[in-house]
């Protein structure tokens, strides 16, 4: 009897048990180890990916983990899986597992030196991985997807400051992105492209890339100015008013740019200089995540949570609630504007139609998919939404049935999103991992 009863729960969770068994050998692989594995995998793809793909009967290296091939040519599914296994899964797992002791030692050494140094090394490795991965593709497709995903992370994160951390429902993000995109574009076009004003004759083109940060910051500041327009009337009250006013603001910005002929009207603005390469976008995204994460983890940033959960109590505990909300709103708008500036220089073309309801729906979906009040949630949300959106592209219009369905499913099973209310502790993430018990303990104590 005893044997049977003890068997039952084990059988029930056999799937979870299997997963745990698979996970167990990798429990003490630190982030650095995973980076090593991935680096080897992308190098292998760069060197032999094309030959392998050819040998397996594919037209070229599968550009996005084979999603596109699976949907377009189902006959190639087995070879796609084989490709993924040989190029990604096996190298990553084997190298991660084998290098774990070395990676742990290195991670510990790096942490002993300085936290920021360790972070920079990790980010450098991550960039290297992305760079090699992007270069292995047949065309610029991978670079473009990576850059747009990184920009989505910035946009989602900045919206999370308002909708998640501050708990207001703002719909004005496309407006801020548009202001930033147009602001930065006008800046770079007037300064470096349009020779009727300054242009190449006056400002040497070599100076351009160094002025790019200035253009982006200018775009961000213009978006912040726009945020003041929304904030002043709507922060006197709470609740639905901000949602309505911010939605109105979004349409105002859109029709403003549609009707201003100097900005190209509905035709849009084109010909932005090609400065937003993968390195620039990566650095800006990293800075954005770093600063926003710093802010929301400080007591000044936590004041946002206090205002959201009980404004009267926050006020009575010396928190200047009005200034707190205003700061956060302008701060979020600034990053949305900066991301907009990057976006304009990645596509090298903007038009007002890009910043409408569809854009709003996408941003909100990324945010709620990933989870409110969580930096890591925003990153997960933006990345998974972008990958999904690209992967389902062959389905054309049906994509817009499947993605909303997925969002609905997430809302049903995890109403707060995939990873809500989690703090991103960078030190915790990059530290060496000693034993399984310790890690579990760390998870439960938080």
């Amino acid at each position: 009897m005893e044997a049977i009863s003890s068997d039952l729960p084990a059988k029930k969770s056999s799937l979870g048990g299997l997963l745990n068994k698979l996970k167990a050998p990798f429990a003490f692989v630190p982030l650095l180890g995973w980076f090593f594995g991935t680096l080897v995998a992308v190098v292998i793809e760069r060197l032999w990916g094309a030959q392998l793909a050819e040998a397996l009967g594919m037209a070229g290296v599968p550009s996005l983990f084979g999603f596109l091939i699976i949907l377009k040519e189902p006959a190639l599914i087995p070879s796609t899986f084989l490709y993924l296994l040989l190029i990604y899964v096996l190298p990553i797992t084997i190298i991660a597992r084998l290098s774990a002791p070395l990676a742990n030692g290195l991670a510990a050494k790096l942490l002993e030196l300085r936290l920021w140094f360790s972070v920079v090394v990790h980010l450098g490795l991550l960039y290297l991985i992305l760079h090699i991965w992007a270069g292995a593709g047949a065309s610029d497709y991978r670079t473009l997807i990576l850059r747009l995903t990184l920009i989505s992370i910035m946009i989602t994160l900045s919206l999370n400051v308002i909708n998640g951390y501050m708990g207001e429902f703002s719909c004005s993000h496309p407006g801020f992105i548009a202001l930033g995109a147009y602001g930065a574009s006008v800046f770079t076009l007037i300064m470096f492209e349009d020779d009727r004003v300054f242009g190449p004759p006056l400002l040497p083109p070599a100076l351009g890339p160094f002025m790019f940060p200035v253009a982006l910051i200018a775009g961000g500041l213009i978006a912040s100015l726009g945020a003041i327009v929304v904030a002043i009337p709507s922060f006197r009250t709470r609740g639905d008013y901000l949602a309505i006013i911010s939605l109105a603001f979004m349409f105002m910005v859109k029709s403003l740019f549609e009707n201003l002929e100097i900005f190209g009207g509905a035709r849009g603005l084109g010909g932005q200089p090609d400065w937003a390469g993968l390195p620039a976008v990566f650095v800006w995204a990293a800075i954005c995540v770093w600063i926003i994460n710093n802010f929301v983890r400080s007591t000044l940033g936590k004041a946002l949570n206090a205002v959201r959960d009980d404004e009267m109590a926050a006020n009575a505990m010396t928190v200047n609630t009005r200034r707190t909300k205003m700061t956060a709103f302008l701060f979020a708008a600034f990053w949305a504007g900066t991301a907009g500036g990057l976006f304009a220089h990645v596509l090298r073309y903007v038009n007002p139609g890009m910043f409408g309801l569809q854009n709003l729906a996408e941003v909100l979906a990324m945010l709620y998919f990933g989870g409110l009040n969580s930096v890591i949630g925003s990153i997960v949300g933006a990345v998974s939404f972008n990958v999904l959106s690209e992967a389902l592209r062959p389905l054309e219009i049906y994509k817009w049935i499947i993605i909303p369905l997925l969002v609905i499913l997430v809302m049903i099973f995890r109403p707060r999103g995939l990873m809500s209310f989690k703090e991103l502790d960078i030190k915790e993430m990059i530290k060496p991992k000693e034993r399984v018990e310790e890690k579990e303990h760390a998870v439960t104590s938080r």
């Binding site: 000044l300 959201r308 009575a316």
Partner: protein, 256 residues
């Protein structure tokens, strides 16, 4: 001049007179009680003094400064801490974050520090964390520091609120029915906490309370409020034997 001085304060909600010619003087270290039937205007008086409402007429001085028209956070930063009748905790925040948050007005690192994680910010955050833990020790809840407040029992939540109010470093503490909804066991523990707070900090306390046991034990002077007017003021003994108070609370015997 007393620590807190309220002079002829009157407040109307539309046409309804909620508080009429209210006067109050609290000396440093004094414990004052405010009792009265439900709806008498006790919490309104708290909200008027702490700046949530602005009185229609009258003047309020805290440590010699006129505080009428200031925002609640300004009044709080000047040394007026408070707790709320129905707990007002931040449900997604941990106990430690609550107490740290109440140090908000003492933070000097500014937005630059918050954005870039400067050494100054780390130093200040460590300082307020240490001070927060001192207060949690005082309330006997340091072991709950990393719990979300919603997971705590009622008595512990009251302690968190008290620790949070003390973290604003008040000169005078307003307690709005701090023992409401407590069982006898929690009540005894809470009274120990009051005693400790009063002795440790020598704080002046202004207390709204329905439990006569608590009021009688702690207060030096008690005011009785009925329909927004003070009908009696005196020591616990005087109040207990005041005919008008007995009328208001117990009703008059009708002689047929």
């Amino acid at each position: 001049m007393p620590l807190l001085h309220v002079k002829d304060m009157t407040h109307y909600f539309g046409g309804l007179r909620a508080v009429h010619n209210y006067n109050l003087n609290i000396e440093p270290g004094q414990v004052r009680g405010l009792i009265g039937p439900n709806g008498a205007g006790k919490s309104t008086i708290f909200n008027l003094i702490t700046g949530i409402y602005s009185p229609t007429e009258g003047e309020i001085f805290l440590d010699g400064d006129n505080i009428v028209g200031l925002h609640p956070y300004q009044v709080a930063a000047m040394g007026l801490g408070r707790t709320f009748q129905n707990l007002k905790l931040w449900r997604h925040m941990t106990v430690l974050e609550h107490v740290k948050m109440a140090h908000y007005s003492k933070i000097n690192y500014g937005l630059i520090g918050a954005f870039f994680g400067t050494p100054k910010r780390n130093r200040e955050e460590a300082e307020i964390e240490a001070r927060a833990f001192e207060l949690l020790e005082l309330m006997d809840i340091p072991h709950l520091a990393h719990q979300l407040v919603t997971n705590l029992p009622y008595g512990a939540q009251r302690r968190v609120e008290m620790a949070r109010a003390l973290a604003t470093e008040p000169k005078i503490l307003f307690l709005d029915e701090p023992t409401a909804g407590m069982n006898p066991e929690e009540l005894i523990k809470m009274m120990t906490v009051f005693r400790r707070v009063h002795q440790e900090f020598g704080l002046a306390i202004f207390l709204i309370e329905h439990r006569m046991k608590v009021v009688m034990e702690f207060c030096d002077v008690i005011q009785t409020l009925v329909f927004g007017e003070v009908i009696a003021e005196g020591t616990p003994n005087e109040i207990q034997n005041d005919a008008k108070v007995i009328d208001a609370y117990l009703g008059r015997e009708v002689v047929a």
